[in-house]
């Protein structure tokens, strides 16, 4: 890898000052599971690497209606935290699908969001749940919706002098949830990931539905047209299949070296039908 200066600030203020000073010449190091491969392959040439692992940003807190996750919460914390399992088990299910066990040891919430791979699991969860992202610079503090945060392929709304401090994820309550994805090999990024969150009323009708996809666009995205097919109806097999068909038709995936657009569309249909079925089954268990 190319040589660089290394800084490990002890406080958030010091980290923000370093970013303000070096801006685009600096790269933040959190878990390193996206940054270090890029450095190993010399695809990035930062002058300064700012290691933020000493900052106190690893807390998981439960507060009125949402979970607050520090940027340095690691994927294995999402898999193992009792608070996550109780209040947003969707995060636990999604985290278990990330990379391999070594990635889950070190990889962080903030790192996944800042890297913004359109097939990654956490960006998908944030888009599906309308989570919020808190960012700081030496200048100001901003709160962004997930939709505003993800600007495009590997691109976010973060300015060069900003870092993510924490995210706020709504608690799931009695909603059913499921993530389904297909990858060519274990540990690969998904070709397509589908995520469903469904609430079913005591009368057996779908009250709210969220259906989101990763790997089919430059950012993860929700398909409102498919959600509309579900709301107000009984969650019959036919109804879920119809929503999946509408979703697949609404997506505009691209061909790439790994899969054709047509194959991705087919995966989106199959995976969203499976995700909806599992989400509904879970919702009915608690309803």
């Amino acid at each position: 890898m190319h040589p660089f200066d290394y800084e490990a600030p002890a406080t958030l203020e010091d980290a923000l000052e370093l970013l303000a000073e070096h801006r685009d010449d600096a790269k933040l190091l959190a878990g390193g599971q996206s940054l270090v491969p890029i450095l190993n392959y010399r695809l990035a040439k930062p002058r300064v690497v700012v290691d933020i692992n000493d900052l106190p940003l690893a807390a998981i807190r439960v507060a009125d209606g949402h979970l607050s996750l520090g940027a340095l919460v690691r994927y294995h914390h999402l898999e193992e935290s009792a608070d996550i399992a109780r209040h947003c088990p969707l995060l636990k299910e999604a985290a278990a699908l990330i990379g391999n066990v070594r990635v889950r040891t070190l990889g962080t919430v903030g790192g996944s969001l800042a890297h913004a791979d359109p097939a990654a699991e956490l960006p998908l969860v944030l888009i599906a749940l309308d989570a919020r992202v808190n960012v700081r610079s030496a200048r100001e503090h901003r709160t962004l919706t997930a939709r505003d945060f993800f600007a495009g392929y590997l691109t976010t709304a973060l300015a060069p002098d900003e870092l993510i401090t924490d995210i706020e994820v709504p608690v799931l309550g009695d909603a059913g949830y499921a993530v389904e994805e297909f990858a060519r090999r274990a540990g690969d990024f998904a070709l397509v990931a589908a995520l469903a969150v469904v609430r079913v009323s005591a009368r057996g009708r779908i009250e709210t539905a969220r259906l989101a996809f990763g790997g089919v666009g430059s950012t993860p995205l929700r398909v409102g047209a498919a959600e509309d097919v579900l709301v107000g109806h009984e969650p019959s097999e036919e109804r879920l299949a119809r929503a999946a068909t509408v979703a697949a038709a609404a997506l505009e995936p691209q061909d790439d070296a790994f899969a054709s657009a047509a194959y991705r569309r087919l995966l989106a249909q199959v995976l969203s039908r499976r995700a909806l079925a599992r989400a509904v089954a879970r919702a009915l268990e608690v309803a």
Partner: protein
């Protein structure tokens, strides 16, 4: 810069560049070849070491990041002059051919078994899915881990 950490129970202070990976430190600075360089992008598992008891890809850990941490390589598993019982199980079940993936398999399996002492065969396969082997077809590796987890004496 000097980085201080504990390697297989022994305190170490090593002069490193920040732009080296911990895998470089092990192999090039310390002459310890327990961890192998495969893909350099965290996919193959050949460079696995345990960082505070959890598996990491040492090719994706910058040298300064191990400061203050406890690192275990496959050499750290040995019991006195003998092998660890899981290593015995690998030998007994023919789970080693070229050996390149073996340290990573052993460390990943042991870290997993510490948290999941009574796994099914399917659990073991999932636990090892991030470690690639190009020789064995995996069956004998899973056999060995399963036998060890069952507590078969003398490695099953």
């Amino acid at each position: 810069m000097i980085v201080s950490f504990v390697l297989n129970g022994r305190a170490r202070d090593v002069d490193v560049l920040p732009s080296e990976t911990f895998l470089d430190v092990l192999r090039d600075r310390l002459g310890i070849f327990d961890a192998k360089e495969g893909c350099d992008e965290g996919v193959c598992g050949a460079c696995t070491v345990l960082l505070d008891g959890r598996p990491v890809s040492s090719c994706l850990v910058l040298a300064p990041s191990v400061r203050g941490h406890r690192v275990t390589t496959v050499r750290g598993l040995e019991r006195g002059a003998g092998l660890h019982p899981l290593q015995d199980a690998f030998v007994k079940h023919g789970a080693v051919q070229c050996g390149f993936c073996t340290p990573g398999m052993l460390l990943t399996a042991l870290a997993f078994l510490e948290r999941h002492p009574a796994p099914t065969r399917a659990d073991i396969r999932t636990a090892l899915e991030g470690n690639l082997c190009r020789c064995t077809g995996y069956a004998k590796i899973v056999d060995a881990v399963e036998a060890y987890a069952r507590g078969d004496s003398n490695g099953g």
